[in-house]
């Protein structure tokens, strides 16, 4: 078996100094996807941010290559005054990857390529944020509610995208309430609430 892209053992993470999750263990091999489930405020975003390296690990161990990560947060990171293609070309250039046109076509944004991103609908902006994944060239996708404001056809498009990515040796960690129809393992983090003395503040501190 190949080396895992991500290995979490007994990971504790906190947000704003308040413990949010305890004892998360997860191994993600190439070709695998895991859907993180849990009610609002249960720590899905915190888990993804910790894996992305935006927050420190409070306890436990995390093994992954920091340069293998492509993160799509809640916010799309789309610049309204740049065109769709310019937005994507910037990220492609930063990651040293070609294929802006292919990425736009993969998310059915080809027709909108020269439009200013501020004129896009919420779903189109989300698709643009997802298209960014394709121009990072990175194997480990961390997706925070990727299907937010996507219509059914786009959700299918997204599912195909993830399947292609997995088939080419990538992996994905997806926080989602919606089942995008992927053959993925489910990690339910609702049971991993911290039990320590500070735990009761966890919900308030999440936002």
């Amino acid at each position: 078996m190949t080396a895992p892209l991500l290995a979490l053992t007994g990971l504790h993470c906190s947000r704003g100094g308040v413990p949010v999750l305890e004892d998360v263990s997860l191994t993600l091999h190439p070709g695998e996807a895991v859907v993180v489930r849990g009610p609002n405020g249960s720590g899905k975003t915190t888990l993804l941010r910790t894996v992305a390296g935006l927050q420190p690990v409070t306890r436990g161990a995390m093994a992954r290559d920091g340069d293998s990560i492509a993160y799509v947060p809640h916010a799309n990171g789309v610049k309204g005054t740049l065109s769709v293609a310019e937005n994507l070309a910037f990220w492609a250039g930063l990651h040293g990857v070609d294929g802006v046109d292919a990425a736009l076509d993969a998310l059915a944004l080809g027709a909108a390529r020269n439009r200013r991103a501020q004129t896009l609908s919420a779903g189109q902006k989300r698709r643009l944020a997802l298209a960014r994944l394709l121009v990072t060239g990175r194997p480990l996708w961390l997706l925070d509610e990727p299907t937010d404001s996507l219509d059914e056809a786009s959700v299918r498009l997204f599912a195909d995208l993830v399947r292609t990515h997995l088939a080419s040796g990538g992996a994905a960690l997806i926080a989602s309430h919606v089942d995008p129809g992927l053959d993925a393992r489910v990690l339910d983090i609702a049971a991993l609430k911290p039990t320590g003395p500070d735990a009761r503040f966890a919900d308030e501190a999440f936002l």
Binding site: G53, Q55, P73, N76, W91, H95
Partner: protein, 218 residues
Amino acid sequence: MIRLVLRDLRLAVRAGGGFGLALAFFLIACVLVPFSVGPESGRLASIAPGMLWVGALLACLLSLDRIFATDFEDGSLELLATAPLPLEALALSKSAAHWLTTGLPLSLAAPVLALLLNLPSAAYGSLVLSLLIGTPALSMIGTFGASLTVGLKRGGLLLSLLVLPLYVPTLIFGSEAVSRAAAGQGIATPLLLLALITLGSLAVLPFACAVALRGNLR
């Protein structure tokens, strides 16, 4: 890094008046001075070096809080933090973009405004030179302040308070160089000290910015 600078420049131009804001402020400040202190040319000439430098400094300060704020609000900053670009390089690129949209146009426009303030013509060269040497320090120190206050609502006030004391040495040596030139004295010493501040902040502050950004992204 170049790509990030180019993107920021393009954003500044597209947003309308990226270059204009600081310039307009500088213009207004310098135009108002003769009205407030009177048109007497001797008096104007004696305060011109100081006024020009104060005007340029305040114009720089004006756009500091936008350095990271827009990227923070739309989520780009998190994406940049996970991109292959180290945060130190990010901070350096951001301050370079800030300088290109404020410091550089201010330096080039300064002689025109110096005319309004009746600065002796012998000092024009050293005015541009001192601004060109000094304003990169203003942008770099400002970027440091912006990375400390990123994510704070209404962080602009705190940012100004943090940054202004750090701007004082640049202001002192910058206006000193112009005054000396106006009085026909040598300007090598203040310009060297100005260059020292700029090079020192360019060498040290990107690392401080990166630490501050990492803390604020948590």
